[in-house]
């Protein structure tokens, strides 16, 4: 196990290093001088020099990279070309909204997927299986931003039940915060649920067909007992895994839904940064998202390995 852990950690670190190189390279891929572009008509030689020096653009590339990396490791991701705000601060301001939405989406997803997936597996081939299948097929095919617009059309525009957009911290105003969370969480949650349903179904199916369960059944153990103690227990690991992975993906992947609901998250921050060519912010956001993804992946893999020794040995 220790070997496996070491190997996975090393791998993740390596990937993170690769990510940092790509993120760093980004600023140099762009045609033209990014600082100049960012300044636009407000061009001012002094400010230009300051920003360039601050972004370290007057140094050799390799020096720049290690400089940047070193400071990034200390939490200093530079300052925004546009607002002068420290990037780390901007990210921390946006992180709660994205985390809240991602976690809510996964919760909504599980609430849908667990019953749907289990029922569909147990009643394989029956009507409820078809319904669950159809749901998950629709869920993975529907463009989530379209579905979000339809929700706004229905709940905000027509019925006026919910505020159409925006974010309020749950700590500040729980009622308002929850109301605003409902539509974005449903939008991302249903799609997540559709994906999870498939995995829950197949995990349960596989568990049901495993020799271990067949043996238990052959022993004449009661169905319920077998299901609860053998099938679900076996199916649990893959479900936990995929749920974790979904969370990791969601943290960086809800850009468009954030746009639809004017949700002040990391994704929208990154999108705005792209549009405004605000490279320090873009670098910071992408680095954060990628790091979160890799870390969650790592944790999930390690958990999985701990729960399922077969992985380690293989």
């Amino acid at each position: 196990m220790a070997g496996y852990v070491a190997k996975r950690v090393a791998q993740s670190l390596l990937a993170l290093l690769g990510v940092s190189v790509v993120v760093f390279a980004l600023i140099h891929l762009v045609p033209g001088d990014p600082v100049r572009t960012a300044l636009g008509t407000r061009f001012d030689q002094e400010l230009y020099e300051v920003l360039r020096a601050r972004a370290g653009l007057d140094q050799p590339l390799v020096v720049q990279y290690f400089d940047w990396l070193f400071r990034a490791l200390q939490g200093d991701l530079g300052v925004s070309f546009r607002t002068g705000q420290p990037v780390t601060e901007a990210l921390m301001q946006r992180l709660p909204a994205t985390a809240l939405l991602a976690v809510s989406a996964v919760l909504v997803g599980l609430v849908i997927a667990l019953p749907a997936g289990i029922i569909s597996a147990v009643r394989q081939g029956k009507v409820s299986d078809y319904v669950a299948n159809a749901f998950s097929q629709i869920g993975v095919s529907i463009p989530d931003f379209w579905y979000g617009i339809l929700l706004i059309l229905l709940f905000a525009q027509t019925l006026r039940w919910l505020p159409p957009f925006g974010y309020t911290s749950l700590l500040e105003d729980p009622v308002d915060g929850l109301q605003r969370l409902i539509m974005p969480a449903l939008t991302t949650g249903v799609v997540t649920g559709a994906i999870l349903t498939r995995f829950v179904r197949s995990s349960v199916l596989e568990a049901m067909n495993s020799e271990h369960v067949r043996f238990a059944r052959a022993k004449g153990l009661p169905q319920r007992h077998v299901f609860r103690h053998h099938v679900l227990r076996n199916a649990w690991n893959p479900i936990v895994t995929i749920t974790g992975l979904q969370l990791g993906t969601l943290l960086g992947g809800i850009v468009v839904v954030e746009v639809v609901f004017a949700w002040p998250g990391i994704g929208r921050l990154a999108l705005t940064a792209v549009e405004r060519r605000d490279y320090p912010v873009l670098q910071g956001a992408v680095l954060l998202i990628a790091a979160a993804f890799l870390i969650i992946n790592l944790v999930v893999d390690l958990l999985y390995a701990k729960l399922d020794p077969r992985i380690r040995s293989s």
């Binding site: 008509t41 505020p163 060519r277």
Partner: protein
Amino acid sequence: MRLRLLALLSLTALIAVACDPGDPIDPEDPTAEVEETPPVDEEPDDPAEPTAGGTLVAAIGGDPDQLDPHTTTSSFAFTVLENIYDTLVQPASDLTMEPALAESWEVSDDLLTWTFNLRQDVSFHDGTEFTAEDVVASFERIAEEGENAFRLDAIEEYVIVDDHTVQFELNRVAPNLLEQIGPFAGLAIAPAAAIEAGTLADEPVGTGAFQFVSFTPGDSVEIERNPDYWGGEVPLDGIRFQVIPDEGVKLTSLETGEVDWIDSVPPEQVDGLAGRDDVVLGQVAGNDYWYMALNNDREPFDDERVRRAIAFALDIDVITEAAKFDAATPNETAIPETSFWYHDYAPFGHDPAQAETLLEEAGVSDLTIDLMVSGEFPETVTAAQIIESQLGAVGITVEIRDEDFSTWLADQGEGEFDAFALGWLGNIDPDDFYYAQHHSEGAFNFHGFSDAELDTLLDDARVETDEDTRKELYDAAAERIVDQASYIYFYNPDIVTAWAPDVQGYEVAPHGQRRFNNVSLDR
């Protein structure tokens, strides 16, 4: 924003017609209200003690890029800053300039020395007293690093006479000086100490009706009542400016009571809102204009015939209707009909045949135009699609490039375009309408237009003190600009704002300022 966007420099330059201080002339009443809904139970000037207090939630269409009044160009920032800062003089609702931080002023006989007497009872939000030193520090900063430096280019020197008297020595006669120094928060007076310390960007400190509380980028800006406001008691406890980028969402939030006031109404919604009792609509003919410019530094747009051909090919009535529905007036010149300076001149009309003839004369075929617009101003994107189709009819291909506005500005500055569409806001003095844009030395002549005769006209008009002569010069200038299609003008939009019925005392200003010092909430 949308309506008010700033054209490059946010200019809410409101110059009235007046040239002489103390002699405000206002021949045509440029405010010409077209208020569609007589505000339902609203009594704006009702002195019957407004219910004091309450926090007003005001929706603005975007994030202020920063809160430094001298360097920002964001109309959203100005919506906030206009309530925090004051200027020396300020536009009245009839577009003349009235006293603000300057109580009164005199002009010397040679018209080159202006003396301003400052109010003596004003202090900044941090408690320091407002003096002549702050005026000079502010103007010097604007001239050095401000976005509106060009407004001050007639001023040679600032002389502090005493704590509450300051003199401006001019390098040329400037009949429109008041309109240059007072129109909006870009010319705000900030404390000399804060300017020295360089803290303005983080902590706005003004003399206005409200003082700064907090700014959460992407979310909101909060300001609270200035208890010592020199302009009298401020009814509201404070204002929260909530950033809501989507127009539809913004309006829905007003309807659902999420917000009390919105900075603009999407033009497509104006008709539907008129006559409703749960929303008050304020609509006033504005002084902004929207236009298209062709890059004179690139072939074949350096050829006047090609530019004119494009002007002939466009149907600005359709462009106006498409982009603004009923909330704008088509105009082939820049200055709106409601202004004293309006010149009735419309040589183009919609004449595709003429366009084709001109293109043929110029020997141009298979022309492709890279047209730069910004989704931050959706009307430019809408207009661009109509332009694409109308120019397509005369064989010109249009490739629309929709960019983030900051990128747009950068590309404009570097001349990276065949054509662009945008608007200019809040100009009132004709110098604001023409000089920076069309003079060959103009600060915002990004499209490289150059015409010696026009330069002479604009230079002369700028220092002409006789109003009728001045108007003649500007009429001639307008014709040269239109005839050579330096800009191809589209329309003058209305300024449209909306608020909840319980918001009392808000007035839509034709110059586009949004001030809440007299507003109260009737709850």
